[in-house]
Amino acid sequence: MVYDVVIIGGGPAGLTAGLYASRAKLKSLLIEKGLTGGLVTTTEWVENYPGFEEGVEGVELARKMETQATRFGLEIVQGAVADILPDGKIKKVSLEEGGQFETKSIILATGAHPRPLKVEGEDAFRGKGVSYCATCDGAFFRGEKIAVVGGGDSAVQEGIFLTKFAETVYIIHRRDRLRAEKILQERAFSNSKIRLIWDSVAEKIEGDNGVKTLHIRNLKTDERSALDVQGVFIYIGYNPNVEFLKGLVALDENNYIITDENMFTSVPGIFAAGDVRKKQLKQIATAVGDGAIAAVSVEKYIEENF
């Protein structure tokens, strides 16, 4: 059997592509390596996705998207893609677990993963104080001190969230101003539990059974200091999930997939959508837009080529 489209990645972009493709009566399969939902599931509360006037739980939003997409016939399988053979019109997608799918087109919606700090102690204390998910781990730091590393939306939003539990939240940012949305900045500045540490980077994480100290360095003065914290939450951006592509499609200098406005990649019949794509704004709202466009582009591509 040949699918019309195989979608790789089950976050908002992939699920929306699946929704549009299956409503267009395309034979559609979505392959998810881990657990459907994508990064949304690590956000406690989504406040800027239209239609939910009071906001919505990240997990609930992901579940709703999945249910909606499968209602129209999207198939979802769990597996990690090992290889894509683009030869000829029919492409083959093989899984690490074994098994191969044939398809007329592919949508890459693999998203991105939190970028590690790459400092000493980061791996050793993962799950023992080092975290990339405030929603999951914040409650284990009641009355304690936490450092959040980063200055974008995620860092500031999760820093504010962590004040629900922690006594003090340090936000450590390498610049002298935040990149986060203005409304988030205002909330952070007016929160008495948040202390901003400007122009500084994390250098080393130390502890015993858990994190005890974060060593930081001021980039302007070169002064080093040690913060007494029990948690280090890392929000310094994301890396696109493109390793399995092995250079199949053109990437930009940061490894994001280059597409045109209709989500075509450099290879005919292969499209990309969501956070894995080179674009200015990586949000749920833009991911679903990408997914819808990619599915419609697939429909046109199949009409013209098969």
Binding site: T41, Q78, S131, C133
Partner: protein, 107 residues
């Protein structure tokens, strides 16, 4: 709620982790997104490994002492026990295939 994954409290915990064979305990809470995602995976594993591996879960909000006793700083954390002793642990929601190979390596 399935019976395949037993919900533990401070009273039942020590006895359960001494059950014969491998015991996997999922530390979770209602507000944790990844916990909700991995829960059905654990239910499936409990059925697949029925009679071979004991599966249980601890709500960390209701049992903060059990969580701090095991130095839990993030959930979901899955701890594997044999004869009441910690063998290994997995932090975060990981795919089913990865959990299966972990279990197979420990059984």
């Amino acid at each position: 709620m399935s019976d395949a994954v037993k919900s533990l409290s401070a009273d039942s915990f020590d006895q359960t982790i001494k059950s014969p064979g491998l015991v996997m305990v999922d530390f979770w809470a209602t507000w944790c997104g990844p916990c909700k995602i991995i829960a059905p995976v654990i239910e499936e594993l409990a059925k697949e490994y029925a009679g071979k591996v004991t599966f249980a879960k601890v709500n960390t909000d209701e049992n903060p002492d059990l969580a701090s006793r095991h130095n839990i700083r993030g959930i979901p954390t899955l701890i594997f026990f044999k004869d009441g002793k910690v063998l290994d642990q997995v932090v975060g929601a990981v795919p089913k295939t990865q959990l299966k190979s972990k279990i197979d390596s420990l059984v």
